[in-house]
């Protein structure tokens, strides 16, 4: 589980952990029933107060993204809850925003962007052989 912390003004450390674990789950880099590092291990690795990890895990548990098994550890929840789906949407929106801002600076219209998205989708599908199977 790869978590990177940034310091300074802005997002508190526990929130950064929550966001990144959510991202890893949404991106499929953490699968259902994968074990998360124990609190003290993650605290050691990130060099942060163990209570900060406890707080992040507790919040993720409340949101149904992870679960604890007594004496066994903390795991990624099985069902993709509506919350996880919402989180996936959020990530998608963030990426879309970044793309649109960049496009605006480069003086492309929305139609230009949509054309490029469709074109790239075509290329990716061809690479994976999906087009051939369709025809």
């Amino acid at each position: 589980m790869d978590i990177k912390l940034t310091q300074g003004d802005g997002v508190p450390i526990y929130q950064q952990i929550i966001n990144q674990i959510k991202y890893l789950i949404a991106a499929g880099r953490l699968s259902p029933d994968d074990e998360l590092p124990p609190v003290r291990v993650l605290a050691q690795r990130l060099l942060i107060n163990p209570n900060t990890v406890v707080r992040a895990y507790r919040e993720l548990e409340t949101q149904g993204l992870i679960y604890k098994r007594r004496g066994a550890g903390t795991f990624v929840a099985k069902a993709v809850s509506p919350l996880a789906r919402r989180e996936q949407k959020r990530i998608l929106r963030e990426r879309a925003d970044a793309l649109l801002v960049e496009a605006r600076h480069l003086k492309f219209t929305l139609d230009d962007v949509l054309d490029v998205v469709r074109e790239r989708d075509q290329v990716l599908r061809e690479e994976r052989g999906e087009i051939g199977n369709d025809g």
Binding site: Q7, G8, D9, G10, V11, P12, I13, V39, R40, A43, Q44, L47, I48, N49, P50, N51, V54, R55
Partner: protein
């Protein structure tokens, strides 16, 4: 490790209205705070703020002129053995005997502490890559700090007391010190008290932060609460401003023209109502870092 911030029970350190003067200079001015068992307590402040003077009172090196100091419920001046036997102490200048070799230093310290854990000490020595036969005076700054840390924690003291432990050290040695703080507190019920001017480090590892400035406590409390109470808000005004408008609760302000950033210590809702009256909109709102809070509080202009 306890799941709750403070494990409760009697505090490990209690300081009440401690005042210390050196001739006319007031080094500590009615300082009060408590360190709960199992917490990481970060004492912050500039050089000369009174941090080391305070630490010396906890160690019983200085006697309270007025006020009261209790460590493990005891007066460190009256009962130095009762207090010091439970404290692992690392000072900024790490006054270790330079003529000793690393192995000698370990055996020497072991003799004072019945609870010395030989296997743990050896584990730490290997981890810190300290050769047994190296003389202390020939060690680098970072290695000396690690040797000091080793002898401070190898008997698993109930409280680890670190006075500016990271001062002047490279990133590697600083990581080892932070790691030791986390290991100590992750072990059941043990407590860490450390002073530092490296606010990023304090922000990473402290449960409770106490800020000293010119001998006075500026604020003291759980870090999460302190941070939640403050915001850094960027405002955009309809027209360029020569000087920022006075808004109650603002600790610090910087900017120019139409955009100004404020550090305030009031709820964002209240602040937003105030802002509407000044023909401005909030364009950014975030939690300030401890460093920015510190500078906002002690009144430095530049950041």
């Amino acid at each position: 490790m306890d799941e709750n911030m403070a494990a409760g029970g009697e505090p490990v350190v209690e300081v009440r209205k401690l005042t210390r003067k050196f001739r006319r200079k007031v080094a500590l001015d009615e300082v009060s705070f408590e360190v709960p068992r199992g917490s990481v307590f970060g004492l912050v402040g500039e050089n000369g703020a009174g941090k080391t003077t305070l630490v010396k009172h906890l160690l019983g090196v200085l006697k309270a002129q007025s006020g009261d100091v209790r460590v493990f419920g005891k007066d460190p001046v009256d009962d130095p053995v009762g207090v010091l036997s439970q404290i692992g102490y690392l000072s900024e200048d790490r006054d270790l005997p330079g003529w000793m070799r690393v192995g000698q230093l370990m055996r020497y310290t072991q003799a004072f502490y019945p609870d010395w854990d030989e296997a743990y000490a050896e584990h730490l020595r290997k981890r810190f890559e300290l050769p047994l036969d190296a003389r202390i005076k020939h060690l680098s700054r970072g290695e000396k700090a690690k040797a000091g840390l080793l002898v401070a924690i190898a008997y698993r003291p109930a409280m680890l007391l670190l006075d500016e432990p990271s001062s002047g050290l490279d990133a590697g040695a600083r990581r080892d010190i932070l790691g030791a703080i986390i290991r100590t507190v992750a072990d059941e019920g043990r407590t860490v008290f450390f002073s530092s001017h490296l606010l990023e480090e304090v922000e990473r590892v402290a449960d409770i932060v106490c800020m000293l400035h010119e001998g006075k406590v500026v604020f003291c409390g759980p870090l999460a609460e302190i941070k939640a109470r403050h915001r850094r808000v960027v405002l955009r005004f309809d027209t360029p401003q020569e000087t920022p408008p006075a808004i109650p609760g603002v600790l610090h302000c910087e900017g120019q023209g139409r955009e100004w950033a404020f550090v305030c210590d009031r709820p964002i809702q209240e602040f937003a109502e105030e802002v509407a009256r000044h023909n401005a909109t909030i364009v950014d709102d975030e939690e300030p870092s401890l460093e920015r809070l510190f500078l906002a509080r002690v009144g430095h202009k530049d950041l």
